[in-house]
Symmetry: C2
């Protein structure tokens, strides 16, 4: 940010006078920082600059722009220029660009790309056919492959030839048969350690960890993290290699998925963009929907309280304990749902564990509830007008409410996942609202039993 504001005006000047200067700049400044700078220009200025640069210089900058910036800027450039830049982009970033663009624009640019670089256009179509959060959509088709019969020297030469055409670092070489079936894998380290005249087959590892193209990106992330992989091949059910996924994309996936989970937990529909780039209207929609749902849900607290009016009338001051009591349920429920949602997200907890969790959470609710009950009992007796039977009611209610909070909070995400929904939808505010109503019902029913003498005439 600071770099951008310092260099912004100067950069604009340099680029206006001589767009070829970008090449010199690219040697000094990381393309990521140049993308930050370009992103701060007006879209029409950015479009003009990028269109004037040689495509191979523009590509590393363009592919690092934010998605919404890419869309805005691409709209202002001739489709042929965008196609030129796209042909120089990494295959996965290129496919991402096309999933960002409006369909008509994307089609127009893809037709241009067919002329400039038909292979690149095919790659886009290959990657685009997979769902947007699948391994297939995340993969790049730029990987080094050779036949298994070559020597180590030839394999190294293949890496060298690949590196001349691709900017990314290379870590592995894939041995495939004539039908693209993956036979084995060797790392650059393996190649360097082998004798150059050795057959590659000697050093190939065949127990390759791979992912399927329709596997969810979160599952891919988990696998790569578990096995400390920097690259993982995407292999279909027939053993054919379709592409590879690199760890830098996985880091982005992890951050993005995490942001979505956190926002859902906070009772917000996930935003598509950072806080300051999200429009006011979009915020109103994404927050409003849950705020209204929860508000309607909380109507039931008022309905329940009104329904039990005779009870609250008969026990003077009892209504004033309601927020205190129901919030204890909401808080313990939030804790449980958070633990289970996160446990499922990182793969520690499986659906089949539900029974163990239920027992554990019920026991935890009992202990925590007893703890709060002791404090609550004392609190009620601090007021001389309250009797010990009301204190007992409050204490027993706390135990019941905290147990309810823990079990409902823990089971709801599991049920949601079981139903194929995102468990994080059972957000903290959602659990709290649900438990609020249950809490009132528990309170009244315990009061009816414990204080039956006081309530003899009541509802």
């Amino acid at each position: 940010m600071r770099l951008a504001s310092l260099l912004g005006p100067e950069l604009k000047q340099i680029l206006k006078e001589d767009p070829d200067q970008v090449r010199a700049l690219l040697e000094e400044i990381h393309p990521e920082d140049l993308a930050d700078l370009i992103g701060e220009l007006e879209p029409d200025e950015a479009a003009e600059l990028l269109a004037r640069m040689p495509a191979e210089d523009a590509a590393p900058i363009f592919e690092r722009l934010e998605e919404d910036e890419q869309e805005e800027i691409a709209e202002l450039m001739p489709p042929a220029s965008v196609a030129q830049i796209a042909s120089e982009m990494a295959p996965d970033d290129r496919a991402d660009l096309f999933s960002v663009l409006p369909e008509a624009m994307g089609d127009a640019i893809l037709r241009q790309l067919d002329r400039v670089d038909p292979e690149a256009a095919d790659d886009v179509r290959q990657i685009e056919k997979w769902p947007s959060t699948s391994a297939g959509h995340l993969m790049t088709t730029a990987y080094v492959y050779v036949g298994p019969e070559v020597t180590v020297a030839a394999a190294i030469e293949a890496v060298r030839a690949h590196a001349e055409n691709h900017k990314e670092n290379v870590y592995n070489i894939y041995a495939i048969d004539p039908n693209d079936k993956l036979i084995g894998i060797a790392s650059l380290r393996d190649l360097l350690l082998a004798k150059t005249y050795q057959p590659l087959a000697d050093i190939l590892r065949s127990n390759v960890i791979s992912v399927k193209p329709d596997e969810d990106q979160e599952e891919v992330a988990r696998k790569m993290a578990k096995y400390d992989l920097n690259v993982v091949p995407v292999v279909d059910e027939n053993g054919l290699i379709l592409g590879v996924i690199t760890i830098d994309d996985i880091v982005d996936v992890l951050t993005l998925e995490q942001t979505e989970d956190v926002q859902r937990l906070g009772g917000i529909e996930p935003l598509d963009m950072p806080y300051f780039r999200t429009s006011f209207l979009s915020f109103i929609k994404k927050r409003g929907v849950w705020l209204f749902v929860l508000f309607f849900g909380e109507f039931f607290t008022q309905t329940a309280l009104r329904h039990y009016d005779p009870v609250f009338e008969a026990i003077k001051g009892s209504a004033y304990y309601v927020p205190l009591l129901i919030s204890a349920g909401g808080n313990s429920g939030s804790q449980s749902s958070t633990l289970i949602i996160r446990g499922m997200a990182v793969g520690e907890i499986k659906l089949s564990d539900w029974w163990r969790i239920l027992v554990r959470e019920a026991a935890m609710g009992l202990i925590l509830g007893i703890g709060l009950a002791i404090v609550g009992f004392g609190r009620v007796l601090m007021y001389p007008e309250q009797h010990s039977d009301f204190a007992a009611t409050v204490a027993l209610t706390l135990i019941g409410i905290v147990m309810t909070g823990c079990t409902v909070g823990a089971m709801l995400p599991i049920l949601l996942k079981r139903a194929g929904l995102d468990p994080a939808t059972s957000s903290t505010p959602f659990i709290a609202s649900l438990v609020d109503v249950l809490g009132i019902v528990i309170f009244v029913h315990i009061a009816k039993v414990v204080m039956s003498n006081v309530l003899a005439g009541a509802h």
Copy 2:
């Protein structure tokens, strides 16, 4: 898991009969999966097996065990065996082991390591002196370095020599002067593309992105994600290279830090271990502390309601609206705090943005509050016994409460961060409790103004 239960007994049998078999197994099964298997054995069985294996086979398995498993098993092995295994571990995993072990045991093993592999023992001391969540603690001292005056061929030979002694893949070579000062960097790709007789200096890149040893690991993760780095050098204030951090450790850091953030947001002290490995007692402590803090906080709702008793008495049925009204504040506050906490965690929001955020959240609270107010107004009038002045009170209260929720929820994480605390401490339940009390005060004061005729005689 399934693999473990299938192979467990068989594996145990194999290993008992012939521990050398592990070498064959390691070629078939990923060490990660073997670690899963060993982790399911009884600690004494695991200790016996690992002690009987050649150290170089045991190391890749041992370094992949969970931290608590490492500790448990190391306790049951002779310090000399652990030192042998440690000498074969990757330097960063080795340092991690010593930060897991109780100090006395760690010292005993380190003394053994001094004999077996004094260089490795020095590395541990180098890494251990940095704080546990800093770049220095995360780095490995295994990286390839050469003088800047060598040829490309010599650099490739250095990579080869390094690869012979280290199991990790190599991505970059670091050119350093005789004082360890970092001069430049070349990737393996750069080396392969250059002519072997070229001086390395020709292809060195000098604009190296690096991190400082005392930089926080989250900052390191952000930098590596931003610049798509697989490895980043750790360089001190004098430009000396101390080690490198690889992306696989960063993926683990991201997952761990995110789990901690989510747990804090859910009102739980972060757990040190997965759900099922956390002891019941530890849960009670980590949940109980916040449950009690929040419970004491909610006492104020009861105190406030009791204090304003005359107002609630005068407006029949008004107390029954309290949970509905205050939950709207809690929900909107949770949304705002979640947005700001996550925005700060991913670096989108800075402390200096507070003013823009305050204005934005207040405006958002106003619009969302008006939306809920319209619904709330209609809801009150559905009851024939309520008058429009009470409906107006509810509507205005909703606007005030939602605006309070949004602004308090957004500002509190910023204030916490400003004070050097973790912003995620302003968890969803914490914001809800705070806004609950404020909500009651707002309700009563608006009622006093709008319904002054009804309340003429009241408090």
